[in-house]
Symmetry: C2
C-alpha cells in the first residue's frame, strides 16, 4: 500500500471507485430526467443509435454488464418502444426504433448538462483528465 495514505478507505481503488460511482450517479439521475430514461438506459440507447444492430452479447461487453442484465435492459426498452429485437440463430440483434432514434437530442443535452454540472464543482481540466484515466483503467482491466 502507498505510504502516503492515511486510511485504507482513501487508498483502496475499490472503496473510492464505488463512492465516486454513487455520487456521480446521483448527478446523472438528475441530469437525465429530461430524457425520461435512467442514465444507464440512455447510455445503451446512445450505443444503439450510433451503431444499430449490435448483439446483446456485444452490448453487455461494451457496458461491462452481464448478459442477463442486458436481457432485462432490452426488455424495458422494448416495452417503451425504443428498440426492437431481431433474432438470427442464437444471437439477438438490437435496433433502435424511430422513437428510439428521436431520443438522441435529449440524451446529448442531458450529457451536456451533466458534464457542466460536474465541471462546475471539479473544474473542467481535472474532470476531463480523471475521465480519461478512468477510461484507460477500464480498457486495461478488460484485458
Amino acid at each position: 500500500m502507498s505510504e502516503s495514505c492515511k486510511t485504507y478507505h482513501e487508498c483502496c481503488l475499490y472503496f473510492t471507485a464505488n463512492s465516486l460511482a454513487r455520487q456521480i450517479n446521483e448527478m446523472a439521475e438528475d441530469a437525465f430526467k429530461i430524457t425520461g430514461l435512467a442514465p444507464s438506459y440512455a447510455h445503451l440507447m446512445l450505443l444503439l443509435i450510433e451503431e444499430p444492430g449490435l448483439s446483446q452479447n456485444i452490448l453487455s461487453k461494451r457496458m461491462n454488464l452481464k448478459a442477463s442484465t442486458m436481457t432485462r435492459f432490452i426488455d424495458k426498452l422494448m416495452q417503451k418502444g425504443y428498440v426492437e429485437r431481431v433474432q438470427e440463430g442464437r444471437s439477438v440483434y438490437i435496433y433502435p426504433t424511430e422513437n428510439g432514434k428521436n431520443l438522441k437530442k435529449s440524451i446529448n443535452q442531458a450529457l451536456s448538462i451533466l458534464f457542466d454540472n460536474y465541471c462546475e464543482v471539479m473544474g473542467e481540466e481535472f474532470a476531463v483528465k480523471l475521465t480519461e484515466d478512468i477510461h484507460k483503467a477500464n480498457t486495461i482491466l478488460k484485458e
Copy 2:
C-alpha cells in the same frame, strides 16, 4: 465536451466511473472471499474497528450510502455477530464485537491481495495515482 473524445462513452464520467466500479467490484468480491464478507461489509467493519461507536448517520455519510442502506448493512452484520447497536436518544451507535474485531487481519489481507491484483494489470504507479485522484473527486463532490 473534450474534443479528443471519440465517443461519449469514453468522455462521460458517469459511464466510465460505473464501468470501473463494476470491474473493480468483481476483483474485490474475489479477493474478499477469505474474509467471508462482501467487500462493502468489510469496508464498514474496517471503519468500525478503526473508530468504534460511530453513528449510523455518520457511517452512511462516510461510505456515501443512504441511511436506509446503512440500516440494512448493520442488520446483516448484527446477525453475523460482528457488531452491536447502542441506542442513545435518536441516534444509534455501532460497536464491533470481539468477533468483529478479529476480522481485521483477514480484511487487511484481502485489501492487500486486491491491491496486488489490480497493480499487476494496471501498474502500481498508475493505480495509486488514479485512486488518489478519485479520492480527490469524491472529496470535492461531497462539498
